[in-house]
């Protein structure tokens, strides 16, 4: 090949300009286009030294761990004004009398328990442990994760295992079919050690996120409260802490049924089954409902009351509002979940000057800032 034969098709001065401003005008000749493409490739190759993996890793871990998050306060105007007045008046009087503050940094009291269908109960939370290895299933546990693998047997398993996650803890497990389940605090999952029937069925109490392994021939069905979810290949969150059951779809497609009512969810849609039995659909930002399983704490314009209900469950603490006005203050927070409750309380008081938390054992009193 003669490497020079297209050289004179190229307006090099034009090319040099284009290389700097990044434009690709439509009137370029083939040869010019080729030269420009080659020049871009040269640039990209020469740039390698500008992208140090060390710096990249530093930046990455910062973004991953701190996620700086948004912490924003939308104090209701009336409350805020009242509190500011009160704060000004009483600051000096109360300051001196404050007792030494307790910190909310206790670990949860109860452990995660696995109740096997045979009647055996295993306490989880220690390092690697093989719990069972027979022809039904092999069960292995790590500190906060359980793994089931189906054994050689093909008999349908009719008895159920139960995983109990107490307040203050979270746990994940991989079922025998490969489905991943994240269980939030104060939740329970009831499931067979292996799936050999026509359907795969599990029951959840509390809150769980499912990432269901697709198996078209064997539908996956989740029972929660009075709702039943039939999975069409999907990641979704079920919250059945209250009389109301909320199902939020993150990806895939989900059929939700409650009695005779049923609806199909698309991603970022939510089905709510109210205590009066009506099933309603609404559009939501799914991450608000699934952030917990990523290890995040995420509330958007949520009343402080609602936030403390979640914190109580997450950290195994009780909250008492000494000033009921504060319950309605709304607050936005989006951070990595701190290891201890005190970390969250500090974040809140840092941006919400009007609130003060007083810790007494496992009880936190929410008070106006004096």
């Amino acid at each position: 090949m003669n490497l020079d034969n297209n050289e004179h098709d190229i307006d090099w001065d034009k090319l040099i300009e284009q290389l700097e401003d990044g434009q690709l005008p439509p009137d370029m000749t083939d040869a010019e286009m080729a030269a420009l493409a080659a020049a871009r490739e040269v640039q990209a190759r020469l740039k390698a030294g500008r992208f140090s993996a060390e710096d990249g890793w530093q930046r990455f871990t910062e973004a991953r761990d701190q996620r700086k998050g948004r912490i924003r306060v939308l104090a209701r105007a009336a409350v805020a004004a009242a509190v500011v007045l009160a704060a000004g008046a009483t600051w000096w009087t109360f300051r001196a009398q404050q007792p030494v503050a307790q910190l909310a940094n206790a670990q949860p009291e109860e452990k995660v328990m696995l109740h096997l269908s045979g009647g055996r109960t295993v306490t989880l939370g220690q390092d690697s442990l093989e719990i069972q290895h027979n022809n039904i299933a092999r069960i292995k546990a790590r500190t906060d994760h359980l793994e089931y693998a189906a054994g050689s047997g093909q008999e349908q398993v009719t008895t159920m295992d139960t995983l109990d996650v107490p307040r203050g803890r979270q746990f994940s497990l991989r079922l025998a079919d490969g489905t991943q389940v994240w269980l939030n605090a104060a939740s329970r999952l009831i499931f067979p050690a292996a799936f050999h029937g026509a359907t795969r069925e599990v029951t959840v109490q509390g809150e769980a996120f499912f990432e269901v392994a697709q198996q078209a021939a064997q539908p996956f069905i989740v029972h929660a409260g009075k709702t039943e979810m039939k999975v069409l290949g999907t990641g979704f969150n079920v919250n059945a802490y209250n009389a109301q059951t909320t199902t939020t779809l993150a990806s895939g497609k989900l059929l939700v049924t409650a009695g005779a009512a049923q609806m199909v969810l698309q991603p970022d849609e939510q089905a709510v089954l109210n205590s009066n039995g009506t099933l309603q659909k609404q559009a939501v930002e799914a991450r608000l409902f699934t952030a917990w399983k990523e290890g995040d704490l995420f509330f958007e314009d949520a009343p402080l009351r609602e936030i403390t209900v979640t914190l109580a469950r997450t950290y195994d603490y009780d909250f008492i509002f000494d000033d009921t006005d504060l319950e309605r203050m709304s607050f936005t927070i989006d951070i990595r979940r701190p290891a201890v409750l005190q970390g969250v309380l500090n974040q809140i008081t840092k941006s919400l000057q009007t609130v003060r938390f007083e810790v007494d054992g496992r009880t936190v009193h929410v008070k106006k800032q004096q």
Binding site: M1, N6, P26, D30, F51, S52, A53, F60, Q180
Partner: protein, 205 residues
């Protein structure tokens, strides 16, 4: 949503910050941690993104977002065959999306760039390495001042007028030197001149 394929697993061995996330490729028996995977591919992926977005910071952001995505999906992500080819595809798509969203690039230009991404990087690892070596060897044979100006422009991203100011020469001299450098590299690196053969069909856009 990025595309995820079966066969390649990220295995998790716990759920807390100190956890080592293993990426395991069935068949090869090879398992590397998330961090090792990151360090192994970060630089290369940044050049892939840069080729498309032509902005260093944007390239870093695109690649970082890709790894953050992997991190968040580490429980469930499954990649066929090879992490690298999956990552290249994902980073290319994310870079093109960045261009579309930035609004600074015309749609027609994005089409052209999209076509160009079929040719960089190369699938063949050997040939990819070989091109880099040939390029740097050719750059090292440039006359001293020409080499310096060329690298200031192409590697360090300085504007022509800034190079002119730093070296106290005219902007035209800078442009001429870069032009001569490119013409020289074209002769030295066969692949640069050969690009004409595939570019041909593009001109009809």
């Amino acid at each position: 949503m990025m595309e995820i394929n079966p066969d390649y697993f990220l295995l998790c061995t716990g759920n807390n910050e100190r956890t080592k996330w293993l990426m395991h490729q069935p068949g090869s028996g090879e398992a590397v941690s998330f961090e090792e995977q990151f360090r192994q591919h970060y630089t290369f992926l940044c050049t892939v993104a840069y080729y498309i977005v032509e902005d260093e910071d944007a390239a870093r952001d695109v690649v970082q977002d890709f790894f953050l995505y992997c991190w968040h999906k580490r429980h469930i992500i499954r990649i066929t065959h090879d992490f690298k080819s999956y990552a290249v595809r994902a980073v290319k798509n994310a870079s093109l999306n960045y261009l579309r969203k930035s609004g600074k690039t015309q749609l027609e230009e994005i089409h052209v760039i999209e076509e160009l991404t079929r040719y960089f990087p190369l699938e063949d690892k050997e040939e990819e390495e070989q091109r880099n070596r040939a390029l740097w060897a050719a750059v090292s044979r440039l006359p001293e001042q020409r080499q310096r100006i060329f690298l200031m422009s192409n590697r360090d991203g300085l504007k022509y007028k800034d190079i002119a100011a730093v070296l106290d020469i005219s902007v035209n001299t800078v442009k001429t030197q870069i032009k001569l450098a490119l013409q020289f590299l074209r002769k030295e690196c066969g692949w640069m001149a050969r690009m004409i053969s595939f570019i041909f069909f593009l001109s009809r856009f």
